[in-house]
Symmetry: C2
Subunit: 174 residues, 2 copies
């Protein structure tokens, strides 16, 4: 796919952002390209457009499929896989947040619970350390409970809640 200068800059920026957040640059670039592309692309075209190896695209796409940020489609008379990205930014963020929560926050919660349980009868670790870990666990639990309760709400409701929050802030700020 031919990239115009703006598209080019967009993809580079997104790759850069990705790597700052612990996402492979190529993966982020593939995602950016598919996010912009008006039509489904096949792996060879992605590789050629981004100037990376075909095999690299294969691995990257697999990751994006696992994240459910990209889907496979097909055309009649073409055996190749074509890929399309989720185009709704709200949905993109939702999927990323949910994924990182499941892959990173949930295991951390389990880990902290385990630490706190062990510290129950651990006499060598200072009490202050135990309290600190317990406090952090409680904080994370508060946050995730909130997230779990609101994550399924329709977008409209979320937007209303955000506007409500802004109003409250305005009143308090005066």
């Amino acid at each position: 796919m031919k990239l115009t200068p703006v598209m080019h800059r967009y993809i580079v920026h997104w790759g850069e952002m990705g790597s700052r957040w612990g996402i492979n640059r190529s993966v982020a670039q593939i995602h950016a390209l598919l996010y912009l592309a008006p039509m489904p692309l096949h792996a060879d075209e992605i590789a050629e457009t981004l100037g990376i190896a075909r095999s690299n695209v294969s691995v990257g796409i697999k990751e994006l499929l696992a994240w459910e940020l990209v889907q496979v489609t097909h055309t009649l008379g073409d055996r190749r896989d074509f890929f399309v990205a989720q185009k709704d930014p709200w949905e993109v963020i939702r999927v990323i947040v949910e994924g990182r929560k499941r892959r990173e926050i949930d295991p951390t919660l389990a880990f902290l619970r385990n630490c706190v349980a062990e510290l129950e009868n651990d006499t060598e670790t200072p009490a202050e350390v135990r309290d600190r870990i317990a406090g952090q666990l409680e904080f994370l639990e508060t946050l995730t409970r909130w997230y779990e309760s609101i994550k399924g709400l329709p977008r409209k409701t979320l937007l209303k809640m955000m506007r409500l929050g802004q109003k409250i802030a305005k009143v308090i700020g005066e």
Copy 2:
């Protein structure tokens, strides 16, 4: 500082988490250590406890100071710098979110605005691409406006708003 097994595991876990989120492992470990430590530590002690080079601690600490997650303190009769971490988990998250917003989200917003402006009279880029970028920009702006309005609210108010959200979710969910 002598690490008990739980402390050791905690620091390792935190280092691991850090690197998944684009934070240098040593920096994350130094932060974890100072977060647990009941008293201020000096650089040599940090290096020895974590088994990393003194110079590495120097660089890591500088970064944590820049993030304002760690502060320097001194003791009478001791020329060395001692370091303490911010211990309140709410404050830790607040500082991290604010920092990443300033360093990454704000420049991205500026970048997207620039893209949209250029696309005004760019005939070679498909209209669909322009709309996509504009949509993403609007989304990000909605999110940051909300964040900016509530970020200064007292913790109590935030907690109330979270509980309110959970109630709304419960009612809608029924």
